[in-house]
C-alpha cells in the first residue's frame, strides 16, 4: 500500500443515495408482475391450541380467490428458518421444529393459513371466511416458569420445554478455582429484552413459477444463495430451478437472515399457478417474524486484588419463543462474546434454550453480543465498586493484548482497547463528571462499556466471490452476490475496486441481486461483508489489473511490472508522458481485430483466513430526574477501532445508527406480552417506541484507525459494533447518577423510581 489513497478513505456518495432520497428506488414492496395475486396470512389469535379442523371451503368459493393453503398444502417437513444449517461443515445446532404452516398454534401470530386472491381486499375478506376450530391449551409465556415441571408442553420432544442445553464453546480452565483466587465475587441476574428490527419496508416477497416450473423469487433475504439452497431442499426442487432476485431493501438488521415470507409465498404461487406477492402488515411483521433474542443471564465475576479477572461464569436461559429458530447461534455468540472480551483463564457458561408460547426470535444487529454485554459490562462496574477500583482502571487491567484471541477465535493482530478507553474517557470528561453533579431534582452521571465484535462469523462458511470485467469505455462491471440493506456494501466494494484498478469511483457499475448472474456469496451477517467481500474484491481487481497491465505493456512496449495506473491513465514508471488510457486498453482488448481478443475479466474469491474484530468503548453521560425517573442521555461518545474507514461517512452512519438502536434497546423499546393471553401488545410504531431524531443526544463518533494486514485496505467490519455497548454504558451512567441499577431492559422511569424506592426502604 504505502501510496496515497485516492478513493478509499474518502466520503464518496453512498450507493443508491440519489434514488432512495428521490423515491426512484424500487423495493420489493413496489414490485409488480402481470397477473400477480395478492397474498395474505392467517395467523393464530390464540397462544396455544390444537387445531381440530380448518375449513377453507367458504374462502375458496369467494370470487377472486385463487388459492387457499393450510399445513396440508405445504411440505410435510420440519425445518428451521435460520440459514446457518446450509453452511457446509458448520453444524449450526439449530433444531428443525417448524412447518411452513402450523398444524398446531404455538403463539399468537403463528402462521396457520394463507390466501392468494386477485386483490388484497378479496384476500383479506377470504381470511375471515376460513374457519379454524381451535382446542385451546394452557400456555406459558415466561421462560423461567416454562421449564418447571407440570407446565404445558409446547413441542412433544422437549421435556420441561427445554429444547437444548449447551455449553459455551469457549469454556476453559476451572471456574471454581478461579473464584477461590478472587478477592471479590459479584453475581447478578440480568434480563435483556427482545428487540424488533424495525426495518422501514414491511416484509414482502414475490414468487413466480414459469411454464417450465422454474421458480423466480424476489425477496428481502440477506442470504440469497443459502436461502435458495434451503428453499430447494424444503420444496424438493433442484437448486438450478430457483432464481433468487433482490431489489432495493428497506432495512433488515438480521431479520432476513431467516426465511420470513418466502416459503408461504412459494406455496401460494405453486397452488395458484400465478405469481403471488405476499406482504405483511406492520402488525404481522411485529407478531409473526423474528426479533432479537432475549436472555436471562445469571453472571458471576471473580476479580483478584490487583484487578485481574480470575473467573467468569454465566448461566443463560434463552427466551427464544415458540420455535427454536436462532437459539443455538445467537446464544453461542452471546456466550462467546461474554467469554472473550477480557483476558480470563477460567470461564464456564451454559445455556438452556426454553420454549414458551411467545413470538419467535432470531438475529438482530449484534446478535447475542448486546445481551451479553448488558450483563458483563454491568458486572465489571459492580466488581470495580466492590473492589474500590475505578471502573476504567479495572477494564484497563484486563484488556486483551496482541496475540490473544477474539470472539471468532483468531489471534488479535492489534490491540487498541486501551487507546479507545482512554480517548473516550477524555472526550466525555469521565474523571470530572463521575460521581454526579446535582441540580434541583436532577442527578447526573457517566458510565462506560467496552465492546469487541467480529468481522464475519467463524469457519469456512464465509465464502465470497465477485467478478469484474472492463467495458471498452474503461468502466468496470463489478458483479457480486451480496445484498445491500442500507449498509452501503455496494458502495464500499466499488471504492475498493476503483482504488485497486486506478480508475474512478463512478467508473464502477455494480451488479448484484441475481443468483443466475453472480457467483456464490454467503450473505450478509456478522459484520462480515466488508472484510470478506472487500477482500474478494481486492483479489479480483488485482487480477484484473494484472490483465490490464499485460495488455497495456504490449501497447506501450514496456514490462507490465514497470507500469503504474492512476486516475484512468496507465504510464511507465518514471516517464509519466509515456502512457495509455485505461479505456483504450480495454477497448483494444475487445476491438483490436489485428491482435488477440481477450475481454479483460477476472474473478476474486475469498474464504476467511482471518477475522479481526472491531473493538472500542462507549461512554454515556446521563441526567436522571429523581422525582419522575426520567433518563436523559446528554452525550454519547463512541470510540471504535475500525481498522480503516473505507468510506468515513458510511462508517459514521453505521456507528451512529448502531448507537441510536442501542439507545432504544436501553430505554424505550419494550417488548410487552400480555400475561393472560400471550398477545404481543406493542405491535406497531404507535405502541412500540423507537427513538427518533428528536430523542438523540449529542453524539461523538470517533473512528480510530489502525489498519490490519488481513482486512481490505486494513478495514474491519463495523455494522453491528456500536449497538453492542450502549445499554450497559447507559445503565452504568444511571447508577453513577442515582445509585440504582436496573437489571432488566429497558431502563424505564417506572423501574428507576421503583428501584430508588426499594433502595430508600433498605436504608
Amino acid at each position: 500500500m504505502g501510496e496515497e489513497l485516492t478513493i478509499v478513505g474518502k466520503k464518496v456518495p453512498r450507493w443508491a443515495a440519489f434514488e432512495k432520497a428521490t423515491g426512484a428506488a424500487r423495493f420489493t414492496v413496489d414490485f409488480k408482475l402481470p397477473e400477480m395475486l395478492a397474498g395474505r396470512l392467517l395467523t393464530s389469535p390464540v397462544a396455544h391450541a390444537n387445531i381440530l379442523k380448518i375449513d377453507t371451503s367458504r374462502a375458496e368459493k369467494l370470487p377472486g380467490v385463487e388459492a387457499v393453503i393450510t399445513f396440508e398444502d405445504v411440505p410435510n417437513k420440519l425445518f428451521n428458518p435460520n440459514k446457518m444449517d446450509m453452511c457446509l461443515f458448520d453444524p449450526s445446532g439449530e433444531l428443525p421444529d417448524m412447518y411452513v404452516l402450523s398444524d398446531k398454534a404455538r403463539f399468537v401470530g403463528d402462521k396457520i393459513a394463507a390466501v392468494a386472491a386477485i386483490n388484497a381486499g378479496v384476500a383479506e375478506e377470504a381470511l375471515v371466511l376460513i374457519e379454524v376450530e381451535y382446542e385451546e391449551l394452557p400456555a406459558v409465556f415466561d421462560s423461567l416458569e416454562a421449564s418447571n415441571p407440570g407446565q404445558p408442553r409446547i413441542h412433544d420432544f422437549a421435556k420441561n420445554n427445554i429444547a437444548l442445553t449447551f455449553p459455551c464453546l469457549a469454556n476453559r480452565g476451572d471456574v471454581e478455582e478461579g473464584f477461590k483466587e478472587a478477592h471479590v465475587v459479584v453475581e447478578q441476574t440480568f434480563k435483556s429484552s427482545k428487540q424488533h428490527m424495525c426495518q422501514m419496508e414491511p416484509t414482502t416477497c414475490v414468487a413466480d413459477f414459469d411454464a417450465s416450473g422454474r421458480l423466480t423469487i424476489w425477496s428481502m433475504s440477506q442470504h440469497p444463495f443459502l436461502h435458495r439452497r434451503k428453499l430447494a431442499e424444503l420444496f424438493d426442487m433442484p437448486v438450478g430451478m430457483i432464481r433468487w432476485k433482490t431489489l432495493h431493501i428497506g432495512g433488515g438488521w438480521g431479520k432476513y437472515g431467516s426465511f420470513v415470507a418466502e416459503p408461504v409465498c412459494v406455496a401460494l404461487a405453486k397452488k395458484a399457478g400465478r405469481p403471488v406477492k405476499l406482504e405483511y402488515s406492520r402488525e404481522e411483521d411485529f407478531r409473526t417474524t423474528e426479533t432479537r433474542e432475549a436472555h436471562i443471564m445469571t453472571g458471576k465475576i471473580g476479580v483478584r486484588k490487583d484487578g485481574t479477572i480470575s473467573a467468569l461464569q454465566n448461566k443463560v436461559v434463552v427466551q427464544g419463543g415458540a420455535y427454536f429458530t436462532h437459539n443455538s447461534n445467537a446464544t453461542n455468540v452471546a456466550m462467546g462474546c461474554f467469554a472473550s472480551l477480557y483476558t480470563c483463564p477460567n470461564v464456564y457458561e451454559i445455556a438452556d434454550a426454553v420454549y414458551t408460547n411467545i413470538p419467535v426470535s432470531g438475529g438482530c444487529r449484534g446478535y447475542g453480543n448486546p445481551p451479553a454485554m448488558w450483563a458483563l459490562e454491568q458486572l465489571m462496574d459492580m466488581a470495580a465498586e466492590k473492589l474500590g477500583m475505578d471502573p476504567l482502571e479495572l477494564r484497563l487491567k484486563n484488556t486483551k493484548k496482541v496475540g490473544e484471541f477474539g470472539p471468532a477465535n483468531y489471534a488479535l493482530e492489534t490491540s487498541t482497547f486501551d487507546d479507545c478507553l482512554r480517548l473516550g474517557a477524555e472526550k466525555i470528561g469521565l474523571k470530572e463528571k463521575r460521581g454526579g453533579r446535582r441540580e434541583g431534582t436532577k442527578r447526573y452521571g457517566v458510565g462506560m462499556a467496552m465492546f469487541m465484535h467480529v468481522s464475519g462469523s467463524i469457519g469456512a462458511t464465509q465464502h465470497r466471490n465477485v467478478h469484474l470485467k472492463f467495458n471498452e469505455d474503461g468502466t468496470v462491471n463489478l458483479a457480486a452476490g451480496c445484498v445491500d440493506l442500507g449498509q452501503n456494501i455496494h458502495g464500499t466494494i466499488s471504492q475498493i475496486a476503483a482504488e485497486t484498478l486506478g480508475i474512478r469511483y463512478e467508473d464502477i457499475i455494480i451488479h448484484t441481486g441475481d443468483t443466475d448472474t453472480t457467483f456464490f456469496d454467503q450473505g450478509m451477517h456478522a459484520s462480515g461483508g466488508l472484510f470478506q467481500i472487500g477482500n474478494a474484491t481486492v483479489k479480483g481487481a488485482t487480477e484484473l489489473k494484472k490483465l490490464l497491465f499485460e495488455r497495456a505493456a504490449k501497447m506501450l512496449e514496456a514490462h507490465p511490472e514497470d507500469l503504474d495506473v492512476k486516475d484512468r491513465w496507465i504510464s511507465v514508471k518514471g516517464s509519466p508522458d509515456k502512457g495509455v488510457s485505461v479505456a483504450d486498453v480495454a477497448k483494444d482488448a475487445i476491438y483490436n481485430y489485428e491482435d488477440d481478443h481477450n475481454h479483460l475479466a477476472a474473478k476474486g474469491s475469498y474464504s476467511p483466513e482471518d477475522n479481526q474484530p472491531p473493538v472500542g468503548a462507549s461512554f454515556a453521560e446521563v441526567g436522571v430526574d429523581t422525582e419522575s425517573g426520567e433518563v436523559n442521555v446528554i452525550k454519547l461518545v463512541i470510540v471504535c477501532d475500525v481498522g480503516r474507514a473505507i468510506n468515513p461517512q458510511t462508517v459514521e452512519s453505521q456507528l451512529e445508527g448502531g448507537a441510536s438502536q442501542g439507545i432504544g434497546y436501553a430505554l424505550t423499546e419494550d417488548y410487552t406480552i400480555n400475561p393472560e393471553t400471550g398477545y404481543l401488545e406493542a405491535d406497531n410504531y404507535i405502541t412500540y417506541k423507537i427513538p427518533g431524531a428528536a430523542d438523540m443526544p449529542d453524539m461523538e463518533i470517533i473512528q480510530y484507525e489502525k489498519p490490519v494486514s488481513t482486512g481490505p485496505f486494513g478495514a474491519k467490519g463495523v455494522g453491528e459494533a456500536a449497538m453492542v455497548p450502549i445499554a450497559p454504558a447507559i445503565a452504568n451512567a444511571v447508577y453513577d447518577a442515582v445509585g440504582v441499577r436496573v437489571t432488566d431492559l429497558p431502563i424505564t422511569p417506572e423501574k428507576i423510581l421503583k428501584s430508588m424506592e426499594a433502595k430508600r426502604e433498605k436504608i
Binding site: 388484497a120 383479506e124 424505550t668 419494550d670 404507535i686 405502541t687 427513538p691
Partner: protein
C-alpha cells in the same frame, strides 16, 4: 399492508349538507377532516363506517379569529400546525401553543385538525387537556340547530363524547384572558413522538401575588381529561408558595384514576401527575414573575 374496506365517500359542500347527511347515515357515517386518526383505524378495521363524509370541501371552517382580549375562535378545519404557528395563540393562549408545539411530527400537525383531535375522545389528548384548562367551549351543530357546550361536559369516557349521530363540532371558542393570567403545559412521553403518559395544563390568574382563579387539567390519568378541582381549590385565594404548590400537587395526584397500559403503570402515572402539576405551577409562577 391492510387494504381499506369499501365505503361510500361523500363531500358535502356546506355544514347544513354535512349534518343532514350525518343525520341520515346515523351511526353508519364518519366525518373525515385531516384523517390522521381515522385512516389508521379504517386500515386496522377498528371502525367500519359505510359512509365517509369528507368535510374538507366546506368553505369557511379554517380560521383563527380574535385574541386574548376579546376571546378567540377557530374552526373545524383549523390544523394543529396553524394553531402552533398563530402568533396570537402563542402570545395569549400559550398553553395551547405549547401542547401543539410539542407534537414532533409536522406531517401529523399539518394534516390533523384541532377539532378532529378533540372528537377522537382520547383521554391522552394534549390538546383537550390544554383547552380544558383554558375553559374552551365547543359549537355543536345538527339538523335541529346549534348549541354551545363547555369542553368540560364534552367527554364521557375513553373514546366517548356526548356527540350524538348527526352532530358535528364546527367551532372552538376560547374565552377572553384576564390580565395576569399565565400557565404551563407539561407532559411525559417515552419518546418525543409518542402519546403522553401523563399530561398537565395549568392556567392561573394571579393578581397582586394572589391566585384569583386556577384551572388545572390532567390528561391520560383518568377515562377522560379532567379538572383537578380539589387542587384548584387549594390554590384559589392563596399566594403560590412552595407549601401551597406541594399541597395542590398532591391533591391533584389523588384526584387521578389512572390505568396500567403499554405506556406506563397506574402507580407511576399517579405519582407523575403530581410531579407534573408541581412543575407546571412552578413554571407558571416563574412566568408570572417575569
Amino acid at each position: 399492508m391492510q387494504s381499506l374496506k369499501p365505503f361510500e365517500y361523500v363531500e358535502p359542500a356546506t355544514i347544513e349538507e354535512a349534518v343532514s347527511l350525518l343525520s341520515d347515515y346515523a351511526d353508519k357515517g364518519k366525518l373525515l377532516a385531516g384523517g390522521v386518526d381515522i385512516m389508521p383505524r379504517l386500515r386496522h378495521r377498528k371502525i367500519k363506517p359505510a359512509f365517509i363524509l369528507n368535510i374538507k370541501k366546506i368553505q369557511g371552517l379554517d380560521y383563527i379569529d380574535g385574541n386574548g382580549g376579546d376571546g378567540l375562535r377557530f374552526g373545524a378545519l383549523t390544523t394543529i400546525r396553524s394553531i402552533e404557528l398563530s402568533p396570537v395563540i402563542r402570545k395569549d393562549y400559550s398553553i395551547l401553543y405549547e401542547a401543539a408545539h410539542q407534537l414532533p411530527s409536522h406531517q401529523v400537525k399539518s394534516m390533523g385538525t384541532m377539532v378532529g383531535n378533540l372528537c377522537v375522545g382520547t383521554p391522552a389528548s394534549d390538546m383537550a387537556t390544554s383547552l380544558l384548562a383554558l375553559d374552551a367551549e365547543l359549537k355543536i351543530v345538527n339538523t335541529s340547530g346549534e348549541k354551545i357546550l363547555p369542553i368540560e361536559d364534552f367527554y364521557i369516557g375513553v373514546g366517548q363524547t356526548v356527540l350524538e349521530p348527526g352532530d358535528m363540532v364546527t367551532e372552538v371558542i376560547l374565552p377572553s384572558v384576564m390580565p395576569g393570567t399565565r400557565g404551563s403545559y407539561q407532559h411525559l412521553v417515552r419518546t418525543r413522538a409518542d402519546i403522553s403518559k401523563v399530561c398537565v395544563a395549568v392556567w392561573i390568574t394571579i393578581t397582586d401575588g394572589i391566585c384569583k382563579q386556577a384551572r388545572i387539567a390532567l390528561g391520560a390519568v383518568a377515562p377522560t381529561v379532567f379538572r383537578a378541582k380539589k387542587a384548584e381549590a387549594l390554590l384559589n385565594g392563596r399566594e403560590l408558595d412552595q407549601d401551597v404548590i406541594e399541597a395542590a400537587s398532591q391533591a391533584a395526584s389523588q384526584e387521578t384514576k389512572p390505568i396500567t397500559d403499554l405506556r406506563s403503570t397506574a402507580e407511576y402515572r399517579k405519582e407523575a401527575a403530581g410531579i407534573l402539576v408541581k412543575r407546571a405551577l412552578n413554571k407558571t409562577l416563574e412566568r408570572a414573575k417575569a
